[in-house]
């Protein structure tokens, strides 16, 4: 039967080839997105009973703090008292940099975890072991666990690494375990230390929010119940330190949800959208099969009259659609492999597990299942027409059959246009959202500025003062280098982390109640020259200079929003602010300048910025910023030479232009926009092909009618308009349906949109116009063919 189906298809190969290619495109897109979505969000994490794992964090709504890490005091109290939890563990809230010498210094991202961290997750090592209680004792041998990534990239996947010592910032640590590739916890960390020997449990640090918590719920306990208990327990801390814990609420979120963040809804949305593209391709192919069914109806009617059962005819149709669908699946599969490779290359590294995406047996199974479903749908739709005759005479009357099928085909074209509009609307929204994000003024220059981290290994300098002098020398030499127009150093560069140094503060004259509502400011310790180098505008007053030293009056520069928040004006030079509460004994700082706002913690995160001169701050700079007269990349060699000449032990790491810092932040929305734009373009193309195929078929089968119209006085233009009007009518109806559907379905996009409303009429109007235009474009060739019809031939033969 399959052989006969192939023979039948090859007899008139044009239509089956178009159907195959159309389906291949749809299948390639859905197969590749299925693979990525499965490996990134659907595949279980390497955790035991992952549904009982939760991330624990806080917020303070009354101070507009949406996410706050746990304090040591909270961790200890909750872990000791929560009955609903089997256990709780923590890691450092942010990765930090360490330098390993192998033997050349290499900077690696590192983190601390508590003793039960991996045990709580139920994780297993690839080699060696994970931390045990013995590793966390004060005098325990120094041990580390390393990531699979570091093991392969820096140690050549050496199986003998377990048990050997690695130099970490001048100290020897024994590697006891290697994490499996699928276990990227703490996220992005390559070197993991046991927390307790280093744990800052000193009283002055107990109430700093520096920990990310995970908890394992006891069997049968709900998240809500556990959250309620934890809140009750943590509330007791308010009596210990009212200011630190007032209004703090605890949240328990499924760990998997926390790890995946917005990636899960984004990936699932993209996968569903890819299925819509496949749906368009399927309807497209189904149209082609319907047209073929009508073309061959005479043949089938005669065979039916000769005894072929309806089931036999249906099986023949199914065999043909199967051949096309399976061929399409094979082509689609090959295309999907390339698409997956491409997606892995262009996807930002912030997407969890993107490096683990690979085509495997499940992908084959999905491709097979998808092609089978596609074949069944095509066969079912085509069979709606086959056997739809009531007599042999009617069966062999092609014109009659064509007439009956035209409405079905127009409906199929309309459905394609409707779905295409939904995809176009989604793509338009994502592109506009991406454009809005890309247009955000991050507050610094994106051109001709190079930044880099100079991670100082522990013990490299005697004290903070010596470390500050090192940075001052680096900045001074950089300024004297050719091609450098400004240079400075900073505690944190913009867009580096979503966390930072939060500064609780009191503006002079504030009441205790008003102070309690102060948002935490973003504290940045900087050297003179930093704001010039970064291109941060000075709005009032002056920048820091060399006179803002330890002996000078305490100075600060505030961001524009900080000034407006507290005084409603940016004319705030001379105003004073101090750290802590109203009654804190911290000294007042005088505002000497007002700078433009900078998005330090995320392009879409607005904070109140305060800058302290580095010599009047306890925080030592870690990054340098260099403004250049030419290409910023050229300054990298200068920077490396300067650092090496001052102290060869200090590596130059994370070298980025400010343009690259911004680019990294827009990578995910840009990828979403690109993927959806590709879907939309493909669906629009398929819709044009669909409209063309349907109308071309309709024109061919209406030749006789068109000939009659000419004989009755129609001009070529009348027939052209007749065909285009048909496409236009279908497109208008499809647009209305599509707009309604888009309003409904784009709800899932709301969480990814920035600076654009999903219900914006202009966007919908533009995509609706595009759909109508596409339909009209698809109708042009058939319409021209209709307008040039030879009436004699059309009337005599019923063909063009």
């Amino acid at each position: 039967m399959i052989a006969r189906a192939i023979k039948t298809l090859l007899r008139q190969p044009a239509a089956p080839v178009v159907a195959t290619l159309t389906l291949a495109l749809g299948l390639a897109i859905s197969i590749s997105l299925f693979t990525v979505a499965r490996d990134v969000v659907l595949r279980p994490f390497p955790f035991r009973d992952q549904e009982r794992l939760a991330a624990v964090w806080s917020d303070i709504p009354e101070r507009s703090i949406p996410h706050l890490e746990l304090t040591v005091a909270e961790y200890e109290l909750i872990r000791a008292e929560a009955k609903s939890l089997e256990d709780m563990a923590v890691q450092s809230a942010a990765n930090f940099n360490s330098v390993i010498n192998i033997p050349e210094p290499v900077q690696v991202r590192s983190n601390f975890v508590t003793r039960t961290f991996y045990g709580l997750l139920g994780a297993r090592p690839l080699r060696g072991r994970l931390f045990g209680p013995a590793d966390h004792k004060a005098n325990a041998p120094q041990v580390i666990v390393i990531s699979h990534r570091l093991w392969t990239s820096s140690f050549g996947a050496n199986p003998k690494l377990i048990g050997s010592a690695v130099d970490v910032e001048g100290q020897k640590f024994t590697v006891v375990g290697i994490l499996p590739p699928e276990l990227n916890v703490p996220a992005g960390a390559d070197l993991i230390f046991p927390m307790e020997p280093f744990f800052g449990s000193a009283p002055e640090h107990k109430h700093n929010s520096v920990l990310e918590g995970i908890a394992r719920l006891k069997p049968g306990v709900t998240l809500a119940a556990a959250q309620s208990e934890i809140n009750t327990i943590a509330a007791r801390l308010e009596s210990v330190d009212r200011d630190a814990y007032r209004g703090v609420r605890k949240h328990l979120v499924p760990l998997v949800t926390e790890i995946l963040g917005t990636t899960r809804p984004a990936m699932i949305t993209l996968f569903v959208m890819s299925l819509l593209v496949l749906a368009i391709a399927t309807f497209n192919a189904a149209s082609i099969f319907v047209a073929r069914a009508v073309t061959r109806q005479r043949d089938l009617a005669i065979r039916s009259a000769l005894g072929a059962t309806r089931g036999a005819l249906l099986r023949e149709t199914l065999a043909e659609t199967l051949v096309v669908a399976v061929t399409a699946a094979i082509i689609g599969f090959v295309l999907a492999q390339s698409a997956v490779i491409l997606l892995k290359q262009i996807a930002p590294s912030t997407i969890p597990r993107i490096d683990l995406v690979k085509i495997d047996a499940t992908t084959y199974a999905f491709a097979a299942a998808a092609s089978l479903v596609v074949a069944l749908i095509c066969a079912a739709v085509a069979s709606l027409r086959r056997g739809g005759w009531t007599s042999l005479r009617e069966g062999i009357d092609r014109a009659h059959a064509a007439q009956r099928s035209r409405r079905l085909l127009l409906l199929l074209a309309g459905v394609q246009l409707t779905v295409a509009l939904v995809l176009l609307a989604a793509a338009a929204l994502m592109i506009r959202s991406f454009a809005s994000i890309a247009r955000i003024d991050a507050g610094f220059s994106r051109e001709r500025v190079l930044t880099a981290q100079l991670p100082v290994p522990g013990g490299a300098f005697r004290d903070a003062a010596e470390q500050k002098r090192f940075f001052a020398t680096v900045v001074e030499r950089l300024r004297a280098s050719p091609g450098v127009t400004a240079a400075g150093a900073t505690l944190i560069r913009p867009l580096e982390l979503e966390v930072g140094w939060d500064w609780a503060h009191t503006a002079e004259g504030q009441t205790a109640d008003a102070q309690a509502k102060n948002p935490l400011a973003n504290l940045v310790s900087i050297t003179p020259g930093y704001l010039e180098a970064m291109g941060v505008p000075l709005l009032r007053g002056r920048r820091f200079n060399e006179h803002d030293d330890e002996k000078a009056p305490l100075a600060m520069i505030v961001g524009r929003s900080f000034a407006l928040r507290h005084w409603g004006t940016i004319d705030v030079i001379g105003k004073r602010v101090k750290a802590g509460k109203v009654d804190s004994d911290k000294p007042w700082r005088t505002i000497v300048g007002v700078a433009g706002d900078v998005r330090y913690r995320g392009l879409m995160t607005e904070k109140l910025d305060v800058y302290h001169p580095y010599r009047q701050s306890g925080w030592v700079p870690q990054y340098v910023a260099i403004r250049t007269s030419g290409s910023p990349h050229a300054a990298e060699a200068t920077l490396r030479a300067v650092v090496k000449s001052i102290d060869p032990r200090i590596p130059v790491a994370e070298v980025r232009t400010t343009g690259e810092l911004v680019d990294a932040k827009v990578a995910q929305p840009r990828l979403n926009a690109w993927i959806l734009a590709t879907f939309a373009a493909v669906s629009l193309l398929l819709s044009i092909i669909g409209v063309y195929a349907v109308l071309n078929y309709a024109v061919r089968n209406r030749a006789s009618e068109l000939g009659v119209r000419l004989a009755l006085g129609a001009r070529g233009g009348d027939l052209l308009r007749l065909v285009v009007r048909e496409a236009f009518t279908v497109a208008v109806v499809a647009s209305l349906a599509g707009c309604a559907l888009a309003l409904l379905l784009t709800r899932v996009l709301a969480g990814f949109l920035y600076g654009v409303s999903r219900t914006e009429p202009l966007t919908l109007a533009i995509v609706a116009a595009l759909v109508v235009l596409a339909a009209v474009a698809g109708s042009v060739v058939p319409a021209l063919r209709a307008s040039r019809i030879d009436p004699v031939v059309a009337l005599r033969d019923g063909t063009l």
């Binding site: 007439q403 000939g707 119209r709 004989a711 006085g713 004699v792």
Partner: protein, 223 residues
């Protein structure tokens, strides 16, 4: 007064290295108000001649004047305008448009002649009345008998008030009673002053007309 005149009208189509001659030197004169029948065996060129007279076919040689206008000298657009003003066409297999009702089918020629909507409605209503098919106006062609369909076909041909009706075997698909009805209708139209040129195989139908033009192998042959 002469309405149609052809001189040395010739039509051929290429086949292989040579050509097939469908019409050869056809000289024909038809006066206004005449009712003539074109007869001949299959392949004689009857329908070809009718389509040339109806200006559906522009590829021929010789001369053809309609109402004093030389068709061969006209541009395609002018030819189409002349056709719309002058010709009504009746087909053997009716060729009503399947997805239009009877009234909508009658409306089609008027629409292509840019007749305003209100006027069209009035003309269609008059025609339905004249052909006694008011009760069928909302029916689709598939709901009519062959005779009824041809009745609508004739009504559609005359609705734009043409000077001449060209009918290509108008009763070819009808049984004798229905055929007679249609031919009676043609006679009635002819008596009303309409020029009619029909192609027919039937001597009985030819008898409705005043003159018979016989074609054979593309030539006009003596009656």
């Amino acid at each position: 007064m002469t309405l149609i005149r052809t001189e040395k009208l010739t039509k051929s189509i290429p086949q292989g290295a040579g050509r097939i001659w469908l019409l050869r030197d056809v000289n024909l004169t038809i006066d206004e108000g005449e009712f003539i029948s074109i007869m001949g065996p299959s392949g004689a060129g009857k329908s070809t001649l009718l389509h040339i007279l109806g200006m559906h076919d522009a590829e021929w040689e010789g001369s053809y004047s309609l109402g004093g206008t030389r068709v061969e000298s006209l541009s395609a657009k002018a030819r189409a305008d002349l056709q719309r003003r002058t010709i009504g066409f009746v087909f053997q297999s009716y060729h009503l448009i399947d997805d239009l009702t009877v009234a909508e089918n009658l409306d089609v020629p008027l629409r292509y002649r840019d007749v305003p909507k209100r006027e069209r409605e009035s003309i269609v209503a008059d025609t339905l009345d004249r052909f006694r098919i008011v009760g069928k106006k909302d029916l689709y062609p598939s709901q009519l008998s062959g005779g009824q369909q041809q009745l609508v076909g004739v009504a559609r041909a005359i609705i734009s008030n043409p000077k001449v009706i060209l009918a290509d075997e108008p009763t070819g698909n009808l049984h004798s009673d229905q055929a007679r009805e249609i031919m009676d209708l043609f006679r009635e139209l002819h008596r009303g002053g309409t020029t009619i040129v029909q192609v027919t195989h039937s001597e009985e139908n030819a008898a409705y007309g005043g003159r018979v033009v016989r074609l054979h192998d593309g030539w006009v042959v003596p009656a």
